[in-house]
Amino acid sequence: MQALTVWLRRLRVMTSKELLQFSRDFVLVLFTVYAFTMDVYLAGSGVSLSLNNAATVVYDGDRSQASRELVSRFREPYFKEVGQLSTPEASTSLLDSGAAMVALDIPEHFEKDLLRGEQTSVQMQIDTTNTVLGLLASSYGAQIVGQYGLDVALQRLSVAGGSLSSAPSIVDDHRVWFNPNSSDAWFMSISEMLTVITLFSLMLPAAAMVREKERGTIEQLLVSPLSPLQVMLPKIMSMTLVIVALTALCLLLVVRGIFAVPFEGSLLLFFAITTLYVFTTAGLGLAIATFARNMAQAGMLIILFIAPMIFLSGAFTPPEAMPPFIRQLMLLSPLHYFIDATYGIMLKGAGVNMLAPQLLGMSVLGALNFGLGLWRFRRQFE
């Protein structure tokens, strides 16, 4: 009984030591708070992953009512006309310099051909240096032109009274679930919050460990009556406390407060999973730290882990499109599970039973990381 009390007291003392050390680094505290608030705000307010206002230049060789009607359909939110050209060749330099993304070229006799019932073609040049946007632009363009053509044809032929509603066709009725308005702010603010949590969970505990090694204060800890676990655990616990508290702030102030992201699931479950995630990731950080002798090494090692985690775990890039071995590699990234869990709880209202695989994945990784870290730590100093 008494042994336990002493054990817990040591843990508490060490945890408060870590917290004190963190709080005394003013610049660090300042930027930590900045990351959890302003940074998430910036991402949520300013980033959109959809095609918006693609700069479009138009060469209208016909200047007829029909051509103007078609051009006017290339409008916001997808396209935005930024200029009329006097020659079709003028588009090249605008596309080269990036001033325009799409160039539309309507031939002479466009209206005449349409009235005569002859097929005519409109050229659309798309800057595809960004493949996804290029494809989106071409798909929206095809929709606009297709619809325009159908409208003209049905009117001319006066088939079925000139309207689609009484012709055999597919009426497209799509519903978007979980984020019905496709709000990028919801997606971006959550994703950015997860990114920031990951950055700090990996860096802070690892840094706290390497710092002791580099400064030599680890010697003092080793001659104290603390076991390796008692040295390691408080580092993780203190930083978990800081990160979870700041996550709460971020969620309340920015994600819910400013962007009004709905919270369908259980708040308690979210914080439980966040704590588990921070613990798991911190374990990875500590395991990395045992391989580094100084902070410069630790920093480079951390980058090696953190950049792929953030870019490839599935928030910014679709996992379905990745080659199998990268997908399997990402099963080792705790963020992979945390992304599914967070979106599941927040937007889809998922409960514990739906998130069992994610919980299991994170727990196993956490145990492995922590075990590896502890084992390496023991071996280095005993």
């Binding site: 595809t128 240096t129 929206y140």
Partner: protein, 384 residues
């Protein structure tokens, strides 16, 4: 500025770097590793969307319609089901991203010349992916509709189905993809990865390298020496610029030979512009190092000012014109955007100094401002 003193600082720094074997190895391994992982993994293509079909009609026509999706390379068919609750749950657990509901009397309505409504349920968690999937659904539906109306019209007006189709689509859209004709993702991504990686790695090397001296206290040797501020900072930064330039060349080789990205521009212009860009990013590291006194803070600060912006505000995942308000301002304040023009220009568009001089000039100015700020913020007399 005394050349000998600068060289002395350079050789001291260089020796420190090469004696830290692990660090030296990481300085070269990390950028290349990131290039390999991102090059193979960072695909923005929306393909193989897992989906299911609920077919309440179960007719020849409905199966024919469903086949349009099953056959498409954009969709990955997971099976037929009638249990919509189960499918809804699978949408929640990410086993599916979409499912299609074909109503009863689908065949009957279409044969009778009436429209039939087909529902598509899409997972909206990731908006850009949803937009792309929605685009595919609309395109498949439109093509199917056109065929239906075409054959309807040909039966009514007595023309051949192909003629009827042509009548229905009087305007053809002739799309030309510029700069990346085959729409290979890796082509467009590999050059930009050079930008991302050179945005992340050099500042870390520099910031940690300089703050290390502060934290260990070895900076007092510098304070007490005859080396001036400018000489110290130049000497300190040069080895990292050197390492980063070697990395830039390695990354270029990987992009061109491993990922097969076409390089149409002038290599020496590219190298020159890269040198300026690398000076900018090492300058960021330098500036960070003057603001903090511990390596922890240096690491965290560098991560916030480089990793996050590299992902969001550099144009690699999200194109700059899609940014709004403050994010747009932020993007213009970072060097990555200008260098992105240079890499895509040099790789895909084959344009050179004549078109890109503005970007180069901005980067040069940027580097100048960073080093000047670093120079004035770095003090040889520590505050008491």
């Amino acid at each position: 500025m005394n050349r000998r003193r600068i060289l002395a600082v350079v050789s001291k720094e260089w020796r420190e770097i090469i004696r830290d074997r692990l660090f030296l190895a990481l300085a070269f391994v990390v950028p290349s590793m990131l290039m390999l992982l991102f090059g193979y993994g960072l695909s923005l293509d929306v393909e193989d969307i897992p989906f299911a079909v609920v077919d309440y009609d179960n007719s020849a026509q409905s199966r024919d319609y469903a086949y349009r999706f099953i056959d498409s390379r954009y969709f990955d068919f997971k099976g037929y089901s009638r249990d919509e609750d189960l499918l809804a749950r699978q949408l929640s657990t990410n086993k599916l991203r979409a499912y299609i509901v074909i109503p009863e009397h689908f065949e009957r309505d279409l044969l009778a010349g009436r429209p039939a409504a087909v529902q598509t349920m899409l997972d909206g968690t990731f908006p850009s992916r949803t937009a792309t999937s929605k685009g595919y659904v609309i395109a498949i539906n439109a093509a199917y509709s056109a065929e239906l109306i075409g054959s309807y019209l040909s039966a009514r007006a007595g023309v051949s189905p192909t003629q009827a189709q042509a009548m229905l689509q009087p305007v053809k859209l002739d799309v030309r993809y510029l700069y990346n004709q085959s729409l290979l993702s890796v082509w467009s991504i590999a050059p930009k990865l050079i930008m991302v990686i050179l945005m992340i790695a050099p500042p870390f090397l520099t910031a940690l390298g300089i703050v290390k001296e502060k934290e260990r206290g070895s900076i007092y040797n510098i304070y007490a020496s005859t080396v001036s501020r400018g000489e110290f900072l130049t000497g300190k930064v040069l080895p990292y610029v050197g390492i980063s330039m070697v990395n830039a060349v390695i990354l270029w080789l990987l992009a061109v030979f491993l990922f097969g990205a076409p390089f149409k521009g002038d290599f020496f212009f590219f190298l020159f512009a890269t040198l300026i860009y690398v000076s900018c990013t090492t300058g960021i590291g330098l500036l960070v190092s003057t603001m903090v006194s511990t390596q922890v803070a240096a690491m965290v600060l560098t991560a916030i000012v480089t990793v996050v912006p590299a992902a969001l505000y550099s144009g690699v995942l999200i194109p700059i014109p899609s940014l709004a308000g403050e994010a747009q301002v932020l993007a213009h304040l970072l060097p990555a955007m200008y260098y992105a023009n240079i890499v895509t220009g040099s790789f895909l568009k084959g344009v050179g100094f004549a078109q890109l001089w503005q970007d180069v000039a901005i980067l040069a100015l940027y580097a100048g401002v960073l080093f000047t700020a670093g120079f004035f913020l770095f003090r040889k007399r520590p505050k008491a």
